[in-house]
Symmetry: C2
Subunit: 327 residues, 2 copies
């Protein structure tokens, strides 16, 4: 059932995905082979290309008639890759998408600078639109994301992280970029303000749902499907919604036990699976799922003003997929 959805989405976007892959390779243009290697290591390791795809679909939904959309779409993947490179350095992460991270292969310094290059590349592509509004959106995203990451870093290991703090963190981490991609598709197409806002809202809700689903997978998926060990967030001291909700609701002994596990960064597998049971018991898992579903519903509602078309169908399917996927 879930796989059927994935297949339908892939069938509807396969041409776009091929075009995006090609454009990602053409637009990278580094002077140095080392930059190509480091950037390529992450860029061509099986990313979903969700962000360029959403930009393309949004521009199509707004009847964009120009020929810039494909090249410009790549900036959202470059920007995404830039933040991932910097985040992996920041988090000292060892694995991503089932492969060693760039900074465990090259030095942190090279990886930071390659991230800067990709950031600059994004902005060159934004400038190519000749539209300062788009550049404003892109630089605004970068500002929010960098500050969001610092905020998250600052709150690492905080046991009483609130749901509101969590929402602010995942907004900065994931939703603002997806929101920006959808908004920029509307701006490029010179869509009216209400359409631009509707697409921005769609992107926001989709991004929130995606990140919540990601955070759920960190407790519920198996390592092979996930491409990294489950429980990785918790090992890095990052509390996510399933745990935040369960901690709020747990009785005294359970809460103390959970806090002791969280505080022990080297917890073992048994502890982890017992913790997952508690998350189920206190409905941390179920309620995170409900909140993610709510965002999916909201995302779909934002698309109502638009005429029915292939792009709209795909964007609806993508909303469902946000919370149905396994990795």
């Amino acid at each position: 059932m879930k796989d059927a959805l994935k297949q339908r989405i892939l069938a509807s976007v396969s041409e776009d995905l091929t075009a995006i892959e090609g454009a990602l390779a053409t637009n990278l243009r580094p002077n140095l082979d080392l930059v190509r290697q480091i950037a390529g290591h992450l860029l061509f390791s099986g990313g979903k290309r969700l962000r360029p795809l959403l930009f393309l679909l949004s521009s199509r939904l707004c009847n964009y008639g120009g020929d810039l959309a494909l090249d410009v779409s790549t900036l959202f993947e470059y920007l995404h890759a830039a933040t991932l490179l910097h985040d992996d350095v920041v988090d000292e992460a060892e694995m991503r998408r089932g492969r060693k991270t760039a900074h465990s292969t090259w030095g942190a310094a090279q990886v930071v600078l390659t991230g800067d290059f990709l950031l600059a590349r994004s902005l060159c592509l934004a400038a190519r639109t000749g539209r300062p509004e788009i550049i404003n959106v892109i630089s605004g995203i970068t500002e929010e994301m960098s500050q969001g990451e610092i905020d998250q870093l600052d709150k690492k290991g905080k046991l009483n992280l609130s749901e509101a703090e969590y929402m602010a963190i995942i907004k900065g981490k994931t939703a603002v970029l997806i929101q920006g991609a959808c908004r920029s598709g509307a701006i490029l197409s010179r869509a009216p303000a209400d359409r631009e806002q509707a697409l921005a809202d769609y992107g926001y809700h989709l991004g929130m749902a995606f990140q919540m689903a990601d955070d759920l997978l960190d407790y519920t998926a198996d390592a092979a499907t996930l491409g990294k060990n489950p429980g990785a967030d918790l090992r890095e001291g990052k509390l996510t919604l399933p745990l935040i909700l369960a901690l709020e609701r747990a009785d005294g002994p359970d809460r103390s036990w959970m806090e002791s596990v969280i505080s022990t960064q080297g917890f073992n597998d048994d502890d982890f699976y017992k913790l997952v049971e508690k998350l189920h018991l206190y409905k941390g898992i179920d309620d995170t799922q409900s909140r993610a579903e709510h965002h999916v519903d909201q995302a779909k509602k934002c698309l109502e003003p638009f005429d029915d078309c292939g792009a709209k169908d795909t964007m609806i399917m993508l909303s469902d997929y946000a919370i149905a996927r396994k990795a």
Copy 2:
């Protein structure tokens, strides 16, 4: 004599410098106090404000009549600060401008992300001009600088670095940003293409002269004036022009001895001062000075097409100051 030049420059730009200081504080606008602290630690530690100043002077030389110049000028200082923050992490530097570097006070992660924030802030300000040509220049600068840093990192400790390789490195490290600031001043003013090129060339030569002078100071200045220990470049494995020229010319035993010192990162003060003597002996110091003077002459020539005015006088004085300064 040298100090008199500095005083004359300061007298001619004191109003601009005050205005730039104010604008740097107003335009920073971080959401997080931590970002303000980290960015402020570097931004307000006595930088020369050379880049915003050159942008302002260039726009004035091209008779800019709008009111954006001051705010936009700050982007060149933010961009400069962003690269310094990332470079200090990359180089694991302990001191800058006589103070502990940001990353020895805060974590490398926070500093990388604050650098990203400043980069984004620069681009927001560039977008405020509504001029995609300016955004193109800024993102192009960032691309060149990040790749230049990676190139430099890759060549660390290389004993046979050529003069051409050195020139490429200092261009990416210093000249492209100063060139971009001058060029952007012309673009903002909608100056004709030949004027824009003349100012870009001025900035390039000025930047090259400044960096060569910096590299000389690392051998000839004392620690108190320099704000860090002399010989810092060499300790980090960075060969600069005085040494490159001397190595090319040294006889067998001197060359071997110099190479052995360079390869010993923990060389002592006696070795360092003996090395400086060799740099004098083989005219590494004198000839670097001559090459820097040549760039100063070229920079001044670029200003000839412009009418005489206060901005032009200051820009001429700044060229002389590039190689006359003590820190």
